[in-house]
């Protein structure tokens, strides 16, 4: 990812937020709903986004930052293309959820809450996804995987790898065919 691309991304984000903000009444009670809809659209809250919200609601940016960082839902870095959420609820903990998290971390060389430099993968720990009877559980993108074993972690990466290689091969074939 080059700097110019990132800038473009950020610019688009600023434009969209500018268009969105007037739909929200300027009341303090709207702060969390606004932040939620920004994150829903853009997957994270950038510094610029929070400053824009502060201006809209006539409060200080530090106030917005304070609220946003208080809650677990908000993210401040762009997540990876594939997201792994490892459940560390009570049942998952008893069933060895921390070992699963460690396997993901070791495999990718990043810690929970981080994204790989190529922005392909990110890992998060979540408190409970409410599927305790299937512990240990991990959410791979949007699919919940129950009774996950350390060796399954390896399997998931192989699956993604195969898919990626297939995509690249198809892309190459298309290009050579043209």
């Amino acid at each position: 990812m080059t700097t110019s691309e990132l800038d473009g991304e950020e610019r688009a984000m600023v434009e969209e937020i500018t268009a969105m903000l007037p739909h929200f009444e300027k009341s303090r009670g709207n702060l969390i709903p606004i932040l939620q809809s920004i994150q829903e659209k853009h997957a994270y809250l950038s510094g610029a986004a929070m400053e824009m919200v502060a201006e809209h609601l006539s409060i200080s940016p530090s106030e917005v930052y304070g609220v946003a960082t208080f809650y677990n839902q908000f993210r401040f870095h762009p997540p990876g293309k594939h997201q792994f959420k490892v459940c560390l609820g009570t049942a998952c903990h008893v069933a060895g959820g921390d070992i699963i998290l460690e396997n993901f971390e070791r495999k990718l060389g990043i810690k929970d809450g981080e994204t790989t430099p190529d922005r392909e993968y990110s890992i998060e720990r979540v408190a409970c996804v409410g599927c305790c009877a299937l512990a240990p559980v991990a959410v791979i993108d949007d699919t919940v995987e129950g009774h996950i074993q350390p060796s399954r972690v390896e399997g998931i990466f192989v699956q993604f790898q195969v898919e990626r290689e297939r995509e690249e091969r198809e892309k190459a074939e298309r290009e050579s065919g043209e």
């Binding site: 969390i32 677990n72 009570t90 409410g130 009877a133 299937l134 972690v153």
Partner: protein, 646 residues
């Protein structure tokens, strides 16, 4: 507004509901009900549904597919109930219905009338052909009051709820004086199901007398306990029951605004409730001039952003106001000055869901269930080492032993029971000697645990109590809002000490320190989070002191759980020559071949994930786990091997 008028407005809705039920009964089309709540979906219910649809269309069989909410039997998901009126069999409940089984069921049962006995869990009603599910302890020891309709009706269809008597409580309430409504709830003895057990009727009365302002009712569905999910299930499976309870409460206290505070992590629950609100408003059961009366109620959904402390009512109110969710000193209580300074009632999902049946069946009926001081039922999400995990609703006063060993089928793999953790991060661990404790608010608090949100984790001999205490402290320490020093810094210190102990670096005076610090945090904190955060540590210290001592004095984890205090090794006597399953599964390549083509573990590299123990074929069973780690024999990699592998 007289009672007759309300009834007159309600009559057309009731008629339509009855008519639709009648239509279903008279036609002979089979009905396939599929459990499609979050846990069902996680087990593959969506694939099952698709398989049913495809198989039905391929064979051109007509059948009705109804997505229903959760029955609470998570161990058997995906669950499917097939009602095939022309087959001669009663409605049958099938468990673990994968896509493949779905296809078999369509072919065998729907097409050829063979109900495929090996997939059957039981019939849903008594009959002479198939054992009924009601004969199983899991079903007949439960007493369903709040979850009665969960998994039996389509949550998106308001008429199914009305057909089961739904909104009858609201009709009755609107025909009486608000004072009478509050008295009824007071007489019923209903206590708040959020954890503390404050009498709901008294809260309502206080709010009603709270001042001239319009009141506000908030439904607390911010279920933050890692390991409890009953509020989500109720929202996903029977949202109208909650809305009816909310409306009755609002009428009683004189509120025109109601807010349902749901965790944003529950997208399906948010969607289902929003849809239910729209559907009720359309039929004048919510919104303005409800059922022709002058009573108005605007219900909105607020999505909470994930903070455990927001389960505390003042913190929750701050969060709706767009602030950091920090608790504030009470008084003033929210019933005097709550959201935007108006008198506010905050009630849990389960509390409000009890209200409609109290209104229709009466306070005396409610009092007849449960115990004298805690009438009604309790809902637990029982998880961990039990055979039949899931959601269970039982009458208050049932013993822990009945719940764990009869309703939930006991401990799997012939292991022995060690402890049960009740009440999540605010609760405590109870040992075997407490199994005969009756489940109610006061008995559990007395034992050192608490009702809390209803999370219950059953642990067998392989669970380490120190590790469990450390886990909960890790959670509360992260979730502490930081307002009170004792909670903010004290939990950090507790966690540091526990961390040390689980790593084998504990000192003898640590145990005393844990206790005094725990007591100090309890007395020095403002809200329920801080006041209860040390509970997991204090109860486990009280009941499992020997385990703490083993960690500190012998550097040994008796349950073989704490990774720093355990080691894996391969018993060369048992290891099979030439088998290398463990080598393939090891994520860090710590297993190597030693003399006689047998395998050994490189203790330097091993991360103790235990995968080799899982995969080692049972006929060899060669992988051993020991604590303290010094007990593992050290086998060095031969130097030339090391070089080649480098």
């Amino acid at each position: 507004m007289s009672r007759v008028d309300v009834k007159r407005h309600f009559a057309p809705i009731q008629r339509k509901a009855a008519q639709r039920t009648e239509e279903r009964k008279t036609d002979s089309i089979p009905t396939i009900s599929i459990v499609m709540s979050t846990c069902g979906l996680a087990s593959g219910a969506a694939e099952t549904k698709q398989a049913f649809e495809e198989a039905l269309s391929r064979k051109s069989i007509e059948a009705r597919i109804v997505p229903v909410g959760c029955l609470g039997h998570c161990y058997a998901e995906p669950l499917v109930i097939i009602d095939h009126p022309t087959s001669g069999f009663p409605p049958i409940c099938y468990h673990k219905v994968s896509a493949a089984r779905a296809q078999v069921l369509v072919g065998s049962y729907l097409e050829n009338g063979d109900p495929v006995f090996k997939y059957v869990l039981g019939a849903t009603e008594e009959n002479d052909l198939i054992p009924a599910v009601m004969d199983f302890p899991r079903f007949n020891l439960e007493q369903r009051l709040v979850m009665e309709q969960c998994g039996r009706i389509d949550p998106d269809d308001i008429y199914q709820y009305v057909a089961e008597g739904g909104y009858g409580g609201l009709v009755k309430a609107l025909g009486s004086d608000p004072e009478e409504v509050i008295s009824e709830i007071e007489t019923s003895g209903l206590r708040g199901r959020g954890g503390a057990g404050f009498p709901a009727g008294r809260k309502w009365r206080l709010a009603r007398g709270g001042g001239p302002d319009e009141k506000i009712v908030i439904c607390n569905a911010d279920e933050g306990d890692p390991g409890a999910y009953m509020d989500r299930t109720i929202l996903e499976s029977n949202p109208h029951q909650l809305l009816e309870g909310l409306a009755i409460c609002a009428y009683g206290v004189g509120a025109d605004t109601a807010i349902i505070y749901v965790r944003a992590e529950y997208p399906l629950a948010v969607k289902t409730v929003q849809q239910a609100i729209k559907s009720a408003e359309k039929r004048s059961l919510l919104g303005s001039s409800i059922l022709g009366t002058s009573f108005n109620l605007e219900v909105t959904v607020f999505q909470g952003s994930g903070a455990f402390v927001c389960g505390e009512e003042t913190a929750l109110i701050h969060s709706i106001e767009g602030k950091r969710g920090m608790p504030q000193h009470r008084p003033p209580y929210p019933v005097e000055s709550g959201l935007w300074g108006r008198p506010t009632v905050v009630n849990n999902v389960k509390t409000l869901s009890c209200v409609p049946s109290i209104m229709t069946r009466g306070a005396e009926w409610f009092r007849s269930i449960g115990t004298e001081k805690s009438p009604g039922t309790a809902i637990f999400s029982v998880v961990g080492n039990v055979n039949h995990p899931g959601l269970v609703e039982i009458a208050m006063g049932t013993s822990l032993r009945t719940l764990i060993f009869e309703v939930c089928g006991g401990i799997p793999k012939k292991k022995s029971f060690k402890a049960v953790q009740i009440g999540g991060p605010s609760g405590g661990c109870l040992p075997e000697s407490f199994l005969d404790t009756p489940i109610d608010f006061d008995s559990l608090t007395e034992a050192g645990a608490m009702m809390g949100s209803g999370g219950m984790v059953v642990m067998d001999e392989n669970s380490c109590m120190v590790d469990v205490a450390r886990y909960f402290l890790d959670f509360t320490q992260k979730e502490s809002c930081g307002k009170c020093t004792f909670c903010r810094i004290g939990t950090r210190h507790l966690l540091d000490i526990l961390d040390r102990i689980t790593k084998g670096e504990g000192k003898e005076k640590d145990l005393e320190l844990l206790e005094t610090l725990g007591e100090d945090i309890k007395s020095g904190s403002l809200c329920g989070l801080g006041k209860t955060a040390p509970n997991p540590v204090l109860t486990s210290l009280r009941y499992f002191l020997d385990e703490y001592q083993a960690h500190v004095k012998e550097k040994r984890c008796p349950a073989l759980k704490c990774r720093a205090l355990t080691a894996f090794y391969i018993d060369l006597e048992k290891c099979a020559r030439g088998c290398d399953v463990c080598v393939g599964c090891c994520p860090v390549e710590a297993i190597f071949t030693t003399t006689g083509r047998k395998k050994a573990v490189d203790q330097e590299l091993c991360v103790k994930c235990g995968e080799c123990m899982v995969v080692c074929p049972p006929e060899y069973d060669a992988v051993e786990k020991v604590s303290p780690p010094e007990l593992a024999p050290i086998i060095e990699r031969s130097p030339e091997k090391k070089e080649t592998s480098d």
